[in-house]
Symmetry: C2
Subunit: 109 residues, 2 copies
């Protein structure tokens, strides 16, 4: 039905899924790469760097802000975006330990 049954999974599983969603679209990967590569905040010129309409970029930014992995600081008339260091580290840790639960050496297949 397009409706995910979040209530039947653990908090951790839902959080992993949400963090993964931040990277689950090439446009958002591109945005995050742009933000991560700069030391300073990127003030709005994301639209110029991406082959997408301003409304579309704004929507992806909104989703990234919902997840928490970026921050937006209003600096009228611009808005400056940057990586949220805390959540970025949370994501690094989360995926790090996730990948570590598989130790390799399957006995079959």
């Amino acid at each position: 039905m397009g409706v995910t049954k979040t209530e039947i999974f653990t908090e951790q599983q839902n959080r992993v899924a949400d963090l993964a969603k931040a990277f689950a679209h090439p446009a958002r990967v591109a945005i995050l790469q742009l933000l991560a590569q700069k030391k300073a905040c990127v003030c709005g010129d994301l639209v110029d760097e991406l082959p997408l309409a301003q409304a579309t970029v704004s929507q992806h930014l909104k989703e990234l802000k919902r997840i928490g992995i970026i921050k937006g600081e209003i600096n009228p008339p611009r808005v400056c975006y940057c990586i949220n260091e805390v959540v970025w580290e949370e994501a690094r840790q989360t995926f790090g330990s996730l990948f570590d639960i598989y130790v390799g050496a399957s006995t079959c297949c």
Copy 2:
């Protein structure tokens, strides 16, 4: 339009997005955790472990196979699933270097 413009992004960005999709739904996270925790392949009892219908689980498995992160070996009447070690490592590397491009210490925000 619900249609991602894959052609306007790099191969790498599209691959990251695809790998992230494997983890972008709590049911798939649960499946991957189950498979990763076992040494041996899991032969079909995934449906019993998950609060989802058999058809739904099968659909998620199909998506994970498309991405390549799991393998399915037919062993009639069962099918044994396991992590694809190569792609699992690819994902680990991919996300590892992705998280490393951000060095922290933003000068603003």
